[in-house]
């Protein structure tokens, strides 16, 4: 049973430091197990979030050796253990304590995006018909577990702190899911362009790289939406049409 050193960020919004902890690492262990072991053995007040321990709830986001990860899906076997493993909180949000940050901004953003508005039911009994292909397409985004790791790495938020004017990749994909929903009739393009800051994204693809659900945020959500905005708003003929056309 090798003992491994963990450098864990301890602190709050006023500051903090890395603290070293040693704990045994056994076969199959993930980083979250190590954090729990440290809690149980030597630091019961070490703050961290978790729920499912199986990559399904998106609670345990953190940065492990500088990489944004779900702690419950990061196996110790995949990390070099001859040197200390660093664990620190996400950087794009204010810190509450230790590994826990204040992600409430994300929940506020969501309330500002226009909600789902279905077309009239297709059948007499009030139900709808859809084809599986459309379901699969929109499910790519609906499988998001709201871990906010993509938000955490996006430079527009992380480095430029545009939280006021940019909703971030998670909520662009959320909008995309609503826009591509086979039954939806709402139009969210104007909001995306004007209030939600779609233009800030310069397609660095950092968000796609960290998504634990392997959602291709940039290629399948952001770029198609950017193209639609261009088509709708910057194509002179479309522009003219829009003046006469009722909303979809």
């Amino acid at each position: 049973m090798p003992q491994v050193t963990f450098k864990v960020w301890r602190g709050n919004k006023d500051g903090g430091q890395f603290t070293d902890y040693q704990t045994d690492v056994t076969e199959g262990m993930v980083v979250l197990d190590a954090v729990h072991q440290i809690q149980a053995e030597s630091a019961p007040d070490l703050a961290c979030r978790w729920n499912c321990k199986a990559g399904k709830c998106g609670s345990c986001s953190a940065e492990v050796n500088g990489m944004p990860r779900l702690m419950c899906m990061t196996r110790m076997e995949d990390l070099p253990t001859d040197q200390p493993v660093t664990i620190e909180p996400m950087q794009a949000f204010p810190l509450i304590r230790d590994l826990v940050c204040d992600v409430s901004w994300n929940f506020e953003i969501k309330t500002k995006i226009k909600k789902f508005k279905p077309r009239k039911p297709d059948a007499e009994d009030g139900t709808w018909r859809m084809v599986q292909d459309d379901v699969d397409r929109v499910q790519e985004f609906r499988k998001c577990i709201e871990c906010f790791l993509c938000q955490n790495v996006c430079h527009v938020l992380r480095d430029h702190h545009k939280h006021e004017t940019f909703i971030g990749p998670r909520f662009i994909a959320y909008t995309a899911a609503l826009e591509m929903h086979p039954l939806d009739t709402e139009d969210r393009l104007a909001d995306l362009k004007d209030d939600n800051g779609l233009g800030y994204c310069n397609i660095t693809k950092c968000c796609t790289k960290v998504c634990p659900e392997h959602i291709t945020l940039t290629d399948n959500a952001i770029i198609p939406l950017k193209e639609r905005v261009v088509d709708e708003y910057y194509d002179p003929i479309k522009k003219l049409f829009r003046m006469f056309k009722p909303k979809k």
Binding site: T26, P44, G55, C57, M73, D102, F107, G126
Partner: protein, 604 residues
């Protein structure tokens, strides 16, 4: 009185899983103010982890299905200890609740003609589970969450309720702390809905998260409510067993629904060896017929892997005990074998069971499209809980309602897979509706300052334990081991008595559970406070298990291996006695309505 932040609502919902969210949507949509509290962030409740699907007799895949078959299946699965009226309402209303989710934006897998697709699950006669791959719970919770946030519900995230506030016998609010800084909050409410989920953290091997410490059941119990059927805890047959750190994590029944088979170390499909009498006519006795069933042949009978969970779990325990287990003390669950029948088996498995594929790939380094999984039983669900009125979901305490896993009645002695997600929305809606009605008919109560001060002092005590201080994590983990050993899958009188003795010692130890540093987001402190609830539900389970001298559904007694006619007529009810000690009473099950009895008979 010390000053605390106070919030006031007509209806206060405690818990933001499927049941709580559905209740809050109902209340806020009916013209009353509604607050919603949860221990974690919104959208992270257990509901998000549900995999296989949501049972409703839509009849989209097999039009022979109907509410009456669903009702009969639920009763048979629950071994007739169910509250039959709840089982009736559930079977009748779940199709509407599923369609309603679609109207709110849920996107589920489809049949060829564009309707909601349904899959096979244990104990359900027809393919009945609406689903999206194997992450149906995520779809449900996200749909309710995204619909709910536009309804004017005030959500209090990361807030934990530690006691219900009472005026006389009626509930008038709740006392809580917020995790961020550990500040106390008083909630005043005309009606309270409990939707706090289960008790799985009382056991060592569990599919449940830190949240499942039985808070709702214990808080209701302290407020004077009856708990019913607490001996019935579902051990899901298929949890991961290897590596050790993931032991207990769930492997969805959907794997068997898609054709997965159980084998022992000799390669034998041991589920064929023991098929209970009630199921012989509906279960295939050969592999070929079983396969035809999972591929949709309506004339075929189901494979024995799809028998009810209690039975499958017992068969696995038997194989392991008799030396035919897998290397790490489980048995094998094999979905890869379907390549004998299907051309693109690998693609099919990844499509139908994507999160299982990832779970094993990433946590166990195993490719389920190529190799069998090792699995064994894990603590999963509590059938027992707060005793409620079938129509209104009101508990035996005025003003206190309950829905979802923390309420009891629907599932009897054993829950069928998929019947929980539908339970949440059917009875979540009802709880919200009747809590609203209650709130409209009653004025706000008076908060009792003494009660508030007392509970605030109690909650602060872990910071001041002196030299007898004990680490709360150690107490919790010792308790889990003890419960797993003595009140686990198979039980007997001696061990249950020992457990009750041990629980007294744990109560004393819990008084010393300590916390230090400060109250800011301090998991040690939270764990220390949760112990009280865990101990209450553990005791309720042990006492109820001791009293039921038979084996039925999820309750297996080595010393009483058979069913008993007399026991079949009784539910166990636990409540807090006037002296503060736990009382247990046996109450007869009300005679079933004639037409429902007939339905059961016809479906036998």
């Amino acid at each position: 009185m010390r000053e605390f932040t106070t919030h006031e609502y007509d209806v206060l919902v405690i818990g933001a899983g499927g049941a709580g969210l559905r209740a809050a949507i109902e209340a806020s949509g009916s013209g009353v103010t509604c607050g919603l509290i949860c221990k974690s962030l919104l959208g992270k409740a257990h509901t998000v982890m549900a995999e296989g699907g949501m049972a409703a007799a839509l009849g989209n895949v097999d039009d022979r299905d109907s509410w009456s078959t669903h009702f009969a299946d639920t009763m048979r699965g629950g071994q007739y200890l169910n509250n039959w009226r709840m089982a009736e309402l559930h079977a009748k209303e779940s199709p509407d609740r599923v369609n309603e989710l679609e109207a709110w934006g849920a996107v589920m897998d489809r049949t060829k003609d564009g309707k909601i697709l349904q899959r096979n699950f244990g104990g359900h006669k027809y393919p009945r589970l609406a689903h999206v791959g194997d992450r149906t719970g995520l779809e449900m919770i996200r749909t309710l969450q995204d619909h709910g946030i536009h309804q004017g519900i005030k959500v209090h995230m990361e807030v934990t309720v530690v006691e219900l506030l009472m005026e006389g016998g009626r509930v008038v609010g709740a006392f809580a702390y917020e995790r961020e800084h550990g500040r106390f909050i008083v909630f005043k409410a005309k009606a309270v809905v409990m939707a706090t989920g289960g008790i799985g953290r009382a056991f060592k091997i569990t599919s449940n998260s830190w949240e499942y410490t039985g808070d709702g059941q214990a808080l209701a119990y302290e407020a004077g409510a009856d708990l019913i059927d607490m001996e019935f805890i579902q051990f899901h047959p298929t949890g991961m067993v290897w590596p050790p750190s993931v032991r207990g994590i769930l492997v969805t029944e959907g794997v068997r629904g898609e054709g997965g088979i159980l084998t022992n170390s000799e390669g034998r499909r041991f589920m064929f060896d023991d098929i209970p009498d009630a199921y012989t006519s509906s279960t295939s006795d050969n592999e070929e017929e079983g396969w035809r069933y999972v591929t949709g042949d309506k004339s075929a009978r189901r494979p024995p892997e799809l028998l009810t969970r209690d039975h499958v779990a017992r068969c696995i325990v038997r194989e392991v005990k008799e030396g035919r287990g897998s290397p790490h003390g489980g048995v094998f669950l094999d979905i890869a074998w379907i390549k004998e029948h299907i051309k693109d088996a690998e693609g099919h498995i990844k499509k139908k069971l994507p999160s299982m594929y990832h779970q094993f790939k990433e946590l166990a380094g195993l490719d389920i499209t190529k190799e069998p999984m090792e699995i064994g039983p894990t603590t999963h669900y509590v059938m027992g809980g707060i005793r409620v009125d079938a129509e209104t979901q009101m508990s035996t305490v005025p003003g206190l309602f309950a829905a979802g896993e923390c309420a009891a009645g629907l599932h009897g002695a054993n829950r069928l897979g998929g019947n929980s997600l539908s339970d949440l929305v059917v009875f979540g809606k009802r709880a919200g509706e009747y809590a609203t009605k209650y709130a409209k008919e009653n004025s706000a109560g008076q908060i009792n300052n003494d009660q508030v001060n007392k509970i605030a002092n109690w909650a602060e005590a872990p910071f001041d334990r002196g030299d007898k201080a004990e680490n709360p994590f150690t107490i919790q983990s010792d308790l889990q081991v003890m419960m797993q050993d003595k009140v686990g899958i198979v039980r007997e009188e001696n061990e249950l008595n020992e457990a009750l003795g041990e629980l007294e010692k744990y109560k004393a130890r819990a008084e010393h559970a300590s916390a230090d540093v400060n109250r800011d987001y301090n998991p040690g402190w939270h764990t220390a406070l949760d112990l009280k609830n865990l101990l209450t539900v553990s005791e309720a389970t042990a006492r109820s298990a001791l009293l039921r001298k038979e084996s039925r559904g999820a309750h297996t007694r080595l010393d009483h291996p058979d069913k008993d006619e007399q026991e079949a007529k009784l539910n166990n009810v636990v409540r807090k006695g006037p002296d503060g000690a736990m009382q247990i009473e046996r109450v007869p099950i009300p005679p079933i309505r004639e037409d429902l009895a007939q339905i059961i008979e016809e479906n036998k």
